[in-house]
Subunit: 208 residues, 2 copies
């Protein structure tokens, strides 16, 4: 497994490591720029300047801008899953885990540079032209629906609750993005509490 490498091979390996670092740098830069300003609005030269990766190397790592867009979408998916997963896992009770979604949203909406759902924005901008973008966005949204669905099931709710809570979250994101207010998160949370209460009668009622 651990073979001897000639100096040239070592050099080649170092190149790969550099490529990996450059790749990460490009994705990080593109992530921020695409989210803040949209995808067409950010040119390759700006990406080069922001990432510090020369154009030549950039095109060696990614065959085209489309490939960068795809990589960034996948990175957004990873970040979103990690963020909301951590927020939900910080709660123990099934109902609190559901409500943690909206608390997570409130924090996000209030954060610097919040500009709505990156997937929805990309879909609006490129979904009609790029099948790959539309596909990734669909997968992301289906994954979130599934995530909420499972949390709802763990709370003992009937299957109808999951989609309702997911729609509330989606609507809160869009509304917050356009209005620039954090309120939609609280409003969605209040609605979710009512829907959860209606779907999962509290045990306390039975014991009374």
């Amino acid at each position: 497994m651990t073979e001897r490498l000639t100096p040239r091979e070592t050099h080649a390996n170092l190149d790969s490591a550099q490529d990996l670092a450059a790749r990460a740098s490009v994705i990080a830069a593109a992530n921020g720029l695409f989210y803040a300003r949209g995808i067409h609005a950010v040119g390759m030269d700006e990406l080069r300047a922001a990432s510090g990766v020369p154009l030549k190397r950039l095109y060696r790592i990614f065959p085209s801008k489309d490939a960068i867009v795809e990589a960034v979408l996948l990175d957004w998916r990873r970040l979103w899953s990690a963020g909301i997963g951590a927020a939900v896992d910080a709660a123990a009770e099934p109902k609190d885990r559901l409500l943690a979604i909206y608390d997570f949203l409130a924090g996000w909406f209030g954060s610097e540079g919040f500009r709505g759902c990156a997937f929805v924005n990309s879909f609006g901008e490129l979904g009609a032209q790029s099948g790959r973008v539309a596909e990734i966005v669909r997968e992301q949204k289906a994954g979130f629906q599934e995530f909420v669905f499972k949390l709802a099931a763990e709370a003992g709710a009937p299957p109808g609750l999951g989609p309702q809570l997911a729609i509330l979250a989606e609507g809160a994101i869009t509304t917050a993005a356009i209005s620039g207010s954090v309120e939609p998160a609280r409003q969605a949370r209040a609605a979710a509490e009512i829907l959860i209460g209606a779907a999962v009668p509290p045990l306390a009622v039975k014991s009374v």
Copy 2:
């Protein structure tokens, strides 16, 4: 008031009428093309071909493409208000008027060429670059919130219900656009029924 016009003035007036017709034709064409494919993706030449209005006249009527975008956004607002207004007015009972929103959405989601909310799409594509676009979209969404708020008030609901129902509608639109399904309208409707029921206890309860 009804002055005599020289033939040249008459001609000038006819020109104005032609401009009006051309304006309507351009907006109608742009409306369909922008919605289906996005705004950057549609060039002025395509707009000329689709509307039948020569480029020269087009630029006499609208100073720039941005002006066309703005006119189309205002047209979308008019169409949306008229559509949802008619749907709501077809119902008499306050609660039914609220629920009519989601039935209207179901019909829209199932219609040919549905691609989500034109305002949200435009906002995602241009909101970061064009302050005017962002402004119109914000106004449109604020207007819809107000519309739902008034309907909720007429149903005797506390002020919290309006935003919740608006968020549900918004979430349903986005979810339907990405998933391509009509289901979100039904799911949002079901959630709305529960929220309305919780906010406005039925009179029947009092009479029992």
